[in-house]
Amino acid sequence: MNRLLTLIDRLSRLAELAAVTLIFGYCILMLTEVVARAQARSFSFTWEYSQYAMAAVFALASGPAIRTAVHVRISLLTEKLPAGVARGMDVVANLVALIIVAAIVNAMWTKVSVSFDRNILATSVSKTPLWIPQAIILWGFAQLWLDLLARSIRRIANQQFEWRGADKEQADV
């Protein structure tokens, strides 16, 4: 069990690293476009690839955001309940979330397979095969499901299950 949890942790870091690379990547891409346009050149793919990168950032960092308690939820009830009941409710919420994210993963799986089977292309100059950016989103939501799974297991086993305020210390230079 612990080996599974460690594996999910590592995969989560990997997804986060990919997201960080992509956010800086599309930032640089947009800067390049600004400079190029000033010299009457423009890349037909800047906006398109930036859009894909943004979507990938949203998806890939979603799991890490569960892990660090960044995703928002309403804790009106749980705050007022005794700790044991609150924990039970959190576990239930977590299991419900697993079902919902499974629906999202299933939907994205359908999307990627259809785009791949039919070779659906972007209606752009670059004619990108859409299954590629869509597969990255599928990866991200699959990671979110895994992170939720790890969270459920740890919550049930009464282990430390999330990492609040992660990285805060590095911010205070």
Partner: protein, 305 residues
């Protein structure tokens, strides 16, 4: 009682959307409410503008008003109308649809739907500070393009095409982020491009149609009489919708002129350059979509292109 959803990519003021609403109303009247089509405007249903073909095929909606070339990711042939110098004006559009009709029908049948009617958009032109009259007038101008083909075409015309989201069109022209924009009279007038550019150059290098299609399962679920009623309404009203498109172009051109824009006319050198660039792009398109060649050549023979 049959309830259908029709998704259009356009907003309430757009003539395509208004045509779709008029059609839905006519169908409701003619069938005494037995076939009730709800028109969902832009953004209401979450059906993406590039996924209308698939949405009808999958039964998400029973009908859609779709801009054909935006479905080209799924069916590359549907991008053919964007080729420059191919379809110029409504008369040529009629000929084009006669020639290419069977090909379109086969494509839509493959996606479990049929076309009820087509409606063309007004042709695009270029909004610039200086008039674009002869072959070299677009050299080095940063002009916002509106789709993949217009990007390539503007590049071939010597301009420096720029991609920008549609939402940023007006602000970018105003701030001088681009030197001009390629778009229709409709979009130009609605975005008040006349506030920042003095010249509209209606180069008419292409004309693109919307198609309104219906899912075949839904269609076959109707009674024979309902099908006949709807089909004849579509055939009848199509001409009105085309007239609405022409009227849109005329009234928006008038609006541009009223607001001080100068409407330019291309000279022979510019026309020759456009034809040359267009033909080169036809050849490139045939490499990607071989089945387009026979259709385009048959059409070209008929129109003398």
């Amino acid at each position: 009682q049959t309830n259908w959803d029709l998704t259009t990519a356009w907003g309430a003021n757009n003539f395509h959307a208004q045509s779709a609403i008029a059609f839905a109303d006519a169908v409701r009247d003619a069938t005494d409410g037995a076939v009730d089509i709800t028109v969902h405007l832009s953004g209401e249903t979450g059906v993406k503008i590039t996924e209308k073909l698939a949405a009808v095929e999958n039964g998400i909606v029973q009908m859609a008003d779709m801009l054909l070339f935006l479905q080209a990711g799924e069916e590359p042939f549907l991008g053919v109308d964007t080729l420059p110098y191919l379809i110029q004006g409504q008369d040529e559009m009629k000929t084009w649809l006669e020639v290419a009709g069977p090909t379109y029908d086969a494509i839509f049948a493959r996606h479990n739907q049929k076309v009820l009617y087509y409606v063309p958009w007004p042709s695009p032109g270029v909004y610039t500070k200086e008039p674009v009259v002869s072959a070299d007038d677009m050299n080095g101008l940063r002009i916002r393009s509106f789709n993949a083909t217009s990007f390539t075409f503007l590049e071939k015309m010597g301009a420096a095409p720029v991609e920008l989201p549609f939402e940023e069109l007006a602000t970018a022209v105003a701030a001088g982020t681009v030197d001009g924009a390629a778009t229709s009279t409709s979009t130009g007038a609605n975005s008040k491009l006349y506030q920042f550019t003095g010249n509209f150059n209606p180069l008419n290098w292409s004309m693109s149609p919307d198609a309104v299609t219906v899912n075949l399962d839904a269609w076959n679920g109707l009674t024979d009489q309902e099908r006949e009623t709807i089909q004849s309404l579509a055939d009848e009203m199509e001409a009105d919708f085309w007239a609405a498109s022409a009227q849109e172009d005329a009234s928006k051109t008038a609006e541009l002129v009223e607001n001080g824009m100068v409407i330019s006319t291309a000279d022979e050198s510019l026309k020759a350059k456009m034809a040359q660039a267009g033909k080169a792009m036809w050849a490139a398109f045939f490499l990607d979509v071989p089945e387009a060649q026979a259709v385009v050549e048959a059409y070209a023979a008929k129109t003398g292109k």
